[in-house]
């Protein structure tokens, strides 16, 4: 199971990298969203994928699920949600004000 999830993470990262490298801004935004999902999956895998037990550690418990990675992922999801939303609005505003969504045309100021 761990191997499979790791493969999924790899696929997601490569997709995200491809999207990030394109010049179209919307694709870049989508790329960052996928990138963050990839790392959330990785966090989950690193915490250990155990099935069918509760996150309670008692005296007579053989298996238990580690609750910490889930708390971490929830926090990370909220943060990436906020960042993506802000980024999306920013990209839209930039598109309005510059009239382009091509990163090539947004290079630095052409002085000096």
């Amino acid at each position: 199971m761990e191997t499979m999830i790791t493969l999924v993470v790899g696929v997601l990262v490569s997709v995200a990298t491809y999207l990030l490298l394109s010049k179209n801004l919307i694709r870049v935004v989508l790329g960052t969203a996928i990138l963050s999902h990839a790392v959330h999956l990785l966090l989950m895998t690193m915490g250990g994928l155990k099935i069918g037990s509760v996150p309670i550690l008692g005296d007579h418990v053989d298996t238990y699920t580690d609750a910490l990675p889930q708390a971490l992922i929830l926090t990370a999801i909220v943060i990436s949600f906020a960042v993506t939303a802000f980024f999306l609005v920013l990209v839209y505003r930039t598109y309005q004000s510059t009239g382009t969504d091509n990163l090539q045309q947004m290079r630095g100021t052409n002085d000096e």
Binding site: A82, L88, Q96
Partner: protein
């Protein structure tokens, strides 16, 4: 401006209440089962977003005259102050507690302070999500 959306409007009039109820259920269930402030808040805000989709922004704003930025701010304040409340009782920041009470109708009920914290989160999520949706859609 847009095509006939009678079906969408009629369905959403009913569906919005179902979604809102489900959102409140998820929010309250969060104490022992899957759910909680964040998830409940997201569900609640999806009801608002559905309203904005089915009717236009002006109509909904006339019906629900709320500034969602202020909703979000109120939410954050409630959450932070519920954490600060613990300081008054000499406990550490963000400490939570719960107790069982015998209420008239509900019988023996568990009341937990974490609900206050979670309600702040839910308000915050609703405020932020709807603000984002409106600010993206405003000037299309």
């Amino acid at each position: 401006m847009r095509e006939n959306d009678v079906i969408l409007q009629t369905v959403s009039k009913v569906a919005v209440f179902i979604i809102l109820t489900f959102g409140v259920y998820l929010f309250l269930a969060g104490h022992h089962n899957p759910g909680g402030g964040f998830i409940g808040g997201l569900t609640l805000s999806s009801a608002f977003v559905l309203l904005y989709l089915a009717f236009d922004v002006e109509t909904v704003n006339a019906g629900i005259p709320m500034d969602y930025k202020m909703v979000a701010a109120t939410g954050v304040l409630i959450s932070v102050f519920s954490g600060m409340g613990a300081l008054l009782f000499g406990s550490a920041f963000l400490s939570q507690t719960f107790a069982y009470f015998d209420l008239p109708i509900f019988g023996k009920t568990e009341l937990a302070t974490v609900v206050l914290f979670e309600s702040g989160i839910a308000l915050g999520v609703v405020g932020v999500v709807v603000t984002i949706m409106i600010s993206i859609s405003e000037d299309v």
